[in-house]
């Protein structure tokens, strides 16, 4: 106690010193800063929209402008109607999130179609790029999870959503993506990619923005609920076991025919050779009889 009084008294002696105000001010700032860091919500740390767009523009100039132009206006080739990269004005944040998030952009090399690959940019960078492109002109925004998830529905509603989604899928999507979502061929080396292992968000964005040769399924065409149902059906397909055994690629009768010939006929002809090679006059017994 005496010690405390003595030290308090010693500090107190300086309370009117010339530096006292400064020290108190520093202490106050430190405390406020420390508490703010400890308790503030995460978003407050990120930069504001303006800064995000500026950051996105920096990334865009480095990684995308070579083909899409310095202001995302697209670059045409000398040949009329062809372009190095299309204009991105008005494609919206959803398109950027899809193309960059699935690794399709930036393209590794020019080709008929940009293949899905490992994303080059991380999530923050994709968000910045999306914000920049969205700032060029209004376009579809990145959907939130509630748009494509059926978690909020009751058990019965979920089942209905899945079977409804299956019918929508078979009507609108299977002509290119195949009944199993295994993908299919498009003209001139293009292809509808497989839907296996694609994130629901990206499927939703693909329907919304119609990337590459895919048609756009606007909300007037397929309502947000219908898009959600399609995603739910695809999810249920992945969760359902293959009832018939190995799926053989889910490609339909062509792969079935291949397996029928190679394994079926190949195996049976092998058995025929085996049976014909074994006669009743086994040489082993003959040798044994002679010995």
């Amino acid at each position: 106690m005496r010690l405390l009084n003595r030290s308090a008294g010693r500090i107190s002696r300086h309370r009117r010193g010339p530096l006292a105000g400064l020290v108190v001010l520093l202490l106050g700032l430190l405390m406020t800063g420390g508490l703010y860091t400890a308790f503030s919500p995460a978003q407050a740390e990120s930069t504001s929209d303006e800064e995000l767009i500026a950051e996105g523009r920096e990334l865009f100039l480095v990684g995308c402008s070579f083909c899409h132009g310095q202001n995302g206006e697209g670059i045409s080739t000398a040949r009329d109607g062809y372009q190095i990269g299309p204009s991105l004005v008005g494609v919206g944040a959803a398109a950027v999130d899809f193309q960059v998030g699935t690794g399709r952009m930036p393209m590794a090399n020019p080709g008929q179609q940009a293949p899905r690959k490992k994303p080059v940019y991380n999530e923050d960078e994709i968000a910045a790029l999306a914000a920049y492109v969205a700032s060029l002109a209004p376009g579809p925004a990145i959907p939130s999870e509630s748009d494509y998830s059926i978690d909020g529905l009751s058990e019965e509603e979920r089942e209905e959503a899945i079977s409804r989604g299956g019918q929508i899928f078979l009507t609108n999507c299977t002509a290119c993506h195949n009944f199993n979502g295994a993908g299919g061929a498009m003209p001139r080396g293009g292809y509808a990619p497989t839907l296996h292992g694609v994130e629901p968000k990206h499927i939703y964005q693909a329907m919304l923005t119609g990337p590459q040769t895919m048609p756009t399924f606007s909300n007037g065409n397929l309502s947000p609920e219908e898009k959600r149902d399609v995603i739910a059906y695809l999810g249920s397909l992945e969760e359902t076991p293959e009832y018939g055994g190995f799926g053989l690629g889910g490609l339909g009768p062509v792969s079935e025919g291949l397996f029928g010939w190679v394994l079926g006929i190949g195996g049976l002809v092998g058995f025929a050779v085996w049976i014909a090679a074994h006669t009743t006059r086994s040489s082993k017994i003959k040798e044994g009889a002679e010995a």
């Binding site: 079977s163 299956g166 293959e242 490609l251 339909g252 009768p253």
Partner: protein, 584 residues
């Protein structure tokens, strides 16, 4: 040598030996035989001899898979409901619950998910169908390549071709029954094919569908065709095919002791009964494994048929793949005559080429018989190389089939091999014409080269692999004569005879009747056989052996069986007793 004492009486008793009491099985057999007389009737057939070769068992695969089809098919009919009446599915498969579909589709789903063993049976039935037609085709190739379709077996060849056609139709009607999206698309295509027939097309379509497509009659009609009409015809033709087989006796490969007048092999009982019976279980087992492990036609993923829907990868089963491929690569040609559209784009690949191919296939033995003018019976097979033109024609047909078949999977090839579907189509348009031509030329030359090789072996012996060094430093490989058995087998073939025209006109300058067709026949015969290498004559072989003997004399000093290891300690036998590569 020891004496066989089993047949010597063991006693000197005065009573006669009595037959022991028959066993129970024997008793039953005797009872049945007394009433049915089977033993007498079957005695000959039970001892029927079949030659042993793996390629003679290919047709058996078809037979046994047909038995599997009958068994599994009967199971399926117990639950399948061939009706196009609309109901809402309320079965076990979640993703389709509450969806409107035909009763045919609903009962297929019911078999797949709610009948015990149903999915296994469905998949076995479908795999067995694939194997049935595939094995018929493999069997057909064996028969064609070995010349087994020559007299007296031409009609059995025609029956076989009909079986192939009926099997294909049976398959088509079968996979159309579930009324799922894929089968509906196939039926829709068939409707289009019918309608592409000039003049009567739409009548035929309306007749088959009982009105406009799809109507509600097609599934019941296909069902009765699938379970009664075609299986009945198949059964009858299979019976005829096998009766003719028994009547003609099986063909065999030539060899010592095997002539055109005998059959060397094992009797039906017990050897072939065991082999063939065992093969049935193997075919059944393979089909069961495939049905149990490999998905085929997952109708639940296709969902019910709806004309507004279609899926990528809509292909027919493999045996319909080649007309589908021709359809895919056909340019979209149409012409309008008197206001009627003639759809060449559908007619040529579907209504003209496949029936034409079938007719060509059926006529092959008759065409060959006419060109060769050969009226003898043939029970000995030919090696494919000894009929170069026939072999080349078959390979050429196979190439056409294979290319058209591959074109039928053009979209799958495109996505799996990262190709452009357009380029595949352009390639195939040329390849279906050029490919068979190239295949024909290559195969024929190849066969002729192999014939030369056979003659080399006959005249100069086989290559021993022993390199001889002569005193003046030259190297030569030693040839030794092949065994008599091998020589017999190689020479057991006829010389080809080129048909020649006697003379177009008689002494009065009158053109002989039918001489133009005879000239054509002579031309074909010449083209067919001129380049073939004939087997050497006895004199040639004799001379070659003399020559060889002379050479051996010259090499006498070197003549000891050396295998090159006699001094390095790796020799696995003593040099003195070593045979040089036995078996030749």
């Amino acid at each position: 040598m020891s004496l066989d004492t089993s047949k010597v009486a063991s006693t000197n008793g005065s009573t006669a030996a009595t037959a022991s009491k028959p066993s129970k099985v024997g008793g039953v057999a005797t009872w049945a035989d007394d009433r049915l007389g089977l033993a007498t009737a079957m005695r000959k057939n039970l001892r029927k001899v079949f030659p042993d070769h793996w390629s003679f068992m290919l047709g058996e695969i078809a037979l046994w898979s047909f038995v599997v089809l009958l068994l599994s098919g009967v199971f399926l009919t117990l639950w399948f409901n061939p009706s196009m009446g609309e109901i809402h599915y309320e079965g076990s498969y979640d993703q389709l619950r509450g969806i409107a579909m035909s009763e045919a589709m609903a009962s297929t789903l019911n078999i797949s998910f709610d009948v015990r063993g149903g999915l296994l049976m469905r998949q076995m039935h479908h795999w067995a169908a694939m194997l049935f037609i595939a094995s018929m085709m493999v069997h057909l190739l064996r028969v064609a390549f070995t010349g087994a379709f020559r007299k007296p077996r031409e009609l059995n060849w025609v029956i076989g071709c009909l079986l192939l056609l009926l099997g294909t139709l049976e398959g088509f009607t079968g996979y159309s029954l579930p009324d799922d999206l894929l089968s509906g698309t196939g039926v829709r295509a068939a409707d289009g094919f019918l309608k592409a027939t000039p003049v009567v097309g739409s009548y035929m379509s309306f007749f088959l569908f009982g009105g406009e497509f799809p109507g509600d009659a097609i599934i019941p009609r296909l069902y009765i065709i699938h379970v009664l009409l075609i299986p009945g015809l198949l059964l009858g033709l299979i019976a005829a095919h096998m009766l003719l087989l028994v009547y003609h006796k099986h063909t065999q490969w030539p060899g010592p002791g095997r002539t055109n007048d005998n059959v060397v092999g094992f009797p039906m009982l017990p050897v072939y009964a065991a082999k063939a019976g065992g093969f049935f279980f193997i075919v059944f087992g393979v089909t069961a494994l495939m049905g149990g492990l490999m998905t085929i036609n997952p109708v639940w993923k296709f969902g019910p048929y709806d004309p507004t829907k279609v899926t990528a990868g809509s292909q027919p089963d493999w045996y319909m793949g080649w007309p589908d491929g021709l359809l895919r690569i056909m340019p979209g040609w149409e012409s309008v005559i008197f206001g009627y559209t003639i759809s060449w784009n559908v007619m040529i690949p579907i209504l003209i080429v496949p029936p034409l191919m079938l007719v060509i296939l059926m006529l092959l033995p008759f065409l060959e018989g006419w060109i060769t003018g050969d009226k003898r019976d043939h029970h000995l097979l030919q090696r494919p190389r000894n009929a170069p033109t026939r072999t080349a024609v078959m390979v050429s047909l196979m190439t056409f089939y294979g290319l058209a078949w591959a074109a039928g999977g053009n979209d799958i090839i495109a996505i799996r091999l990262d190709l452009s579907i357009n380029q595949i189509t352009y390639f195939m348009r040329v390849a279906v014409f050029l490919g068979p031509l190239i295949a024909f030329i290559v195969t024929r030359r190849w066969c002729i080269s192999l014939q030369r090789l056979d003659n080399e072996k006959l005249l100069h012996g086989y290559e021993t692999g022993i390199i001889m060094r002569s005193p003046d430093g030259g190297y030569a490989e030693r040839h030794l004569p092949i065994s008599d058995t091998a020589a017999y087998t190689l020479t057991a073939r006829d010389r080809d005879q080129i048909h020649t025209v006697e003379g177009d006109t008689d002494s009065n300058g009158v053109v002989a009747p039918g001489s133009r067709i005879q000239a054509l026949r002579a031309k074909l015969s010449d083209g067919m056989f001129r380049h073939n290498v004939q087997k050497p004559t006895a004199a040639e072989i004799e001379e070659a052996h003399h020559h060889a003997a002379h050479e051996h004399e010259l090499e006498a000093g070197l003549d000891h069986p050396a295998d090159g290891h006699q001094f390095d300690g790796h020799s696995d036998h003593t040099v003195e007793e070593a045979p040089l590569r036995g078996g030749h």
